[in-house]
């Protein structure tokens, strides 16, 4: 165990113990064991506390089966290209799941398009008076509570909200438009929530880009869009992927915005998990759904990172 000895030699006993215990507690007790406990619970039946650990407490795939096929007697059937396979199919949960993933991807793309120009501007101009005001204005909404941000959008988009007030008074519509039911408010609120997490990684990446590279490309006759396509974007790729990863994960895992801004007939996947835990009182099934969400998100992110050839170490910088 020369390495461990070297570790204590380098840090001293007290500091060495602090580092070992700190990192050990964090990784084992806070990160790994809870995830394993959740994974374990997701493979068990929902039992009353008195039966836990008893002979009935056996492993089962029931919770995952429920996600795919629903309750026994579920009349929905899986259709493949219009052909009835006869396999029962949990239409509600699965469609909510895919809707959540696709909507989160769309929100991420929207944020990227919205934030890239400003991040480029901030990264390439000297941050003078205006730049600093911009930064301040960017940070303030992020410091406001997540619930309050969603609440602000409800005021904005509600039936008697300011937007409907304007539309009615300008004579554009004659009935208040139901932005909540149409999920406009939800998507606007979700896109809003994580703007900062998209801007800052891109800004950090672009800031370190040597201006001379852009000048050189311009001198050689490249139009502005090709400068971005060939010089800036490849250079800022780690920042862009980092921002997109964070926005996607946070959007797919968002709970407050869908609860407050979601229409009455639309659900977010996290809401289904929440229901299993609270009103459903079925922690095992909630855990299984949480595992599904976790693996889907992580898998998708890893896939995209491989696709765009970015390493994990570059995330979060």
């Amino acid at each position: 165990m020369g390495a461990v000895g070297g570790f204590f030699e380098r840090n001293g006993l007290l500091l060495g113990l602090y580092l070992l215990f700190g990192v050990g507690f964090w990784i084992l007790v806070l990160i790994v064991l809870p995830q394993l406990a959740m994974l374990d619970l997701s493979f068990r039946h929902n039992l009353p506390p008195s039966l836990v650990g008893g002979p009935d407490d056996v492993y089962t795939l029931e919770n995952y089966r429920h996600f795919l096929v629903g309750n026994p007697g579920n009349p929905d059937r899986l259709f493949l290209f219009g052909w009835d396979t006869g396999i029962p199919f949990n239409t509600i949960d699965i469609s909510v799941f895919f809707r959540t993933i696709l909507a989160a991807l769309a929100v991420t793309l929207f944020d990227l398009l919205l934030c890239y120009p400003l991040a480029y501007y901030l990264g390439q101009s000297n941050i003078g008076g205006f730049g600093r005001i911009f930064l301040l204005l960017l940070v303030i909404p992020y410091w406001v509570n997540e619930i309050l941000r969603a609440f602000a959008f409800r005021i904005l988009f509600g039936n008697s909200g300011i937007l409907n007030f304007l539309l009615l008074n300008l004579g554009i519509v004659d009935q208040p438009a139901d932005f909540i039911r149409a999920d406009v408010a939800l998507y606007a609120g979700l896109g809003y929530a994580y703007i900062l997490l998209m801007i800052f990684p891109i800004y950090n990446a672009i800031e370190s880009l040597d201006r001379n590279q852009i000048e050189a490309a311009r001198d050689l006759g490249s139009p502005w869009w090709r400068i971005h396509w060939r010089v800036v974007i490849p250079f800022a790729k780690p920042g862009i992927v980092s921002g997109c990863t964070m926005v996607f994960m946070l959007t797919a895992g968002a709970l407050a915005a869908p609860q407050i801004l979601g229409g009455p007939s639309s659900l977010w996947f996290t809401q289904i998990i929440y229901q299993w835990f609270n009103t459903g009182q079925n922690w095992a099934r909630g855990s299984a759904y949480a595992v599904v969400l976790l693996f889907a998100c992580v898998g998708l992110v890893l896939l995209l990172m491989r696709l765009f050839k970015v390493k994990m170490g570059e995330i979060g910088k």
Binding site: L14, I31, P141, A152, W224, A256, L294
Partner: protein, 413 residues
């Protein structure tokens, strides 16, 4: 940006849209905090009032939850900073082959959805609790304990990133020199490394506290019987909203701006103390010198103007009288509307009676005319639709007395 005027114009437009999207929800929410209307709305404007701040202060659940938030935030800051610092120091020493794996593991909590962290914390400690045979109200199932641990799982990673950024500029030679000169490891750590990390401690603490204070996804599974402010707010927002929530938002935004200004002023003073000339710190701009490149001063001036205007307004103005006026006006409007409806009804009855003898003649042209005053006449309905907001504005001139909107507005008033 390039010199292309079209591009510049488009970029200006883009900035306008961007910051409208970014700020208008907050500004509008702030306005609703001062509107007397019981439902938070910025328009139509009823009355200027401070009463929602009073309502907020009287809400004992909100006040209690703020206390919970501070307790949770305090413990989370301590635990996250301790773990984050250890994580950052280990990263500088770990074998290069393990580094990528280690970094992935400790950075993962940032990317794991918050609900998953909350669930896993709840499940793990609950099972440990029953495994150890402890009672249901033991420490391991305490809401504050669980919330602190759940939040620290990912907030420690934020702190670690802050410490890593600072450590990258640390010269390990300094620690070696201290050790060579006879310091113990603990002394070198305390006297050399910790002072160097001091600025990182401050920013890590601020980030950790803010992240803890506003966390919802993790806390909503772990809070037990100690709801934090965010939890309490979400309950309030989901089961009916009133402008006292906007009042709270105004306070939070105000504190945020204040903190940002203090931070800005502090940075400036430090830069000047570090030997930079004032002109270097404040870039030249076309604003008056006091405001030159100084966002803090600009915001301060705006705030002062706003405060003065508010004070003057409050002096010459009584919210109670205004509210009474608005109520009175609404009552009068409703009265007028009811009167008009009654008149219309009377008139139509009379018309119907006089038309009755000629019903055979007119029947073919207008089969709907009758005791119902032509409300089923399709033309009438069409006319109804073009009238602006029949429910709230002037009653329909088309006399559609039985149109559902009219009835509803009559009942509400």
């Amino acid at each position: 940006m390039t010199g292309n005027p079209l591009l510049r114009l488009m970029f200006g437009l883009y900035l306008l849209i961007f910051f409208t999207y970014l700020l208008s929800p907050l500004v509008l929410m702030g306005i609703t905090a001062f509107n007397a209307s019981a439902f938070p709305k910025a328009a139509p404007w009823d009355c200027f009032t401070f009463e929602w701040f009073g309502v907020l202060a009287d809400d004992s659940r909100i006040v209690d939850s703020i206390a919970n938030s501070f307790v949770v935030g305090g413990f989370t800051v301590l635990l996250s900073m301790a773990l984050g610092l250890a994580g950052a120091l280990v990263l500088t020493q770990i074998w290069p082959r393990l580094r990528a794996t280690y970094y992935t593991v400790v950075i993962a909590p940032i990317l794991i959805p918050g609900v998953v962290l909350g669930i896993s914390t709840l499940v793990f400690w609950g099972r440990l609790n029953s495994y150890l045979g402890l009672a249901d109200d033991s420490l391991l199932r305490n809401g504050i304990f669980l919330t602190v641990l759940g939040q620290s799982t990912f907030i420690a990673a934020y702190c670690m990133l802050v410490f890593i950024a600072r450590l990258q500029r640390f010269d390990p030679g300094l620690t070696e020199a201290a050790l060579d000169l006879g310091a113990t490891h603990t002394q070198a750590f305390r006297k050399v490394l910790l002072p160097f990390l001091k600025p990182a401690f401050v920013s890590a603490a601020v980030i950790a506290f803010l992240a803890s204070f506003e966390n919802y996804n993790t806390t909503t599974f772990t809070f037990g019987t100690y709801p934090t402010l965010t939890i309490e707010l979400s309950q309030k927002v989901r089961y009916g909203i009133d402008p006292s929530i906007s009042a709270l938002a105004v306070i939070i935004v105000g504190l945020t701006v204040l903190a940002a200004l203090v931070n800005e002023a502090h940075k400036r003073r430090q830069a000047i103390r570090a030997g930079l000339r004032v002109a270097d710190v404040m870039p030249p701009a076309r604003l008056p010198r006091f405001l030159a490149g100084n966002p803090a001063a600009i915001v301060l001036v705006l705030l002062t103007l706003g405060l003065v205007a508010t004070a003057v307004y409050a002096q010459t103005y009584s919210p109670a009288a205004c509210k009474f006026e608005v109520l009175e006006q609404k009552r009068l409007e409703a009265e007028a509307r009811r009167q008009k409806m009654l008149e219309d009804l009377e008139r139509r009855r009379g018309e119907a009676a006089s038309e009755a003898p000629a019903a055979g003649a007119t029947g073919s042209q207008n089969p709907n005319a009758g005791a119902f005053g032509g409300v089923f006449n399709p033309n009438n309905l069409g006319g109804e639709k073009t009238a602006p907001t029949p429910a709230e504005e002037a009653p329909s001139p088309f006399g559609g007395v039985f149109a559902p909107e009219n009835l509803k507005s009559g009942e509400q008033q």
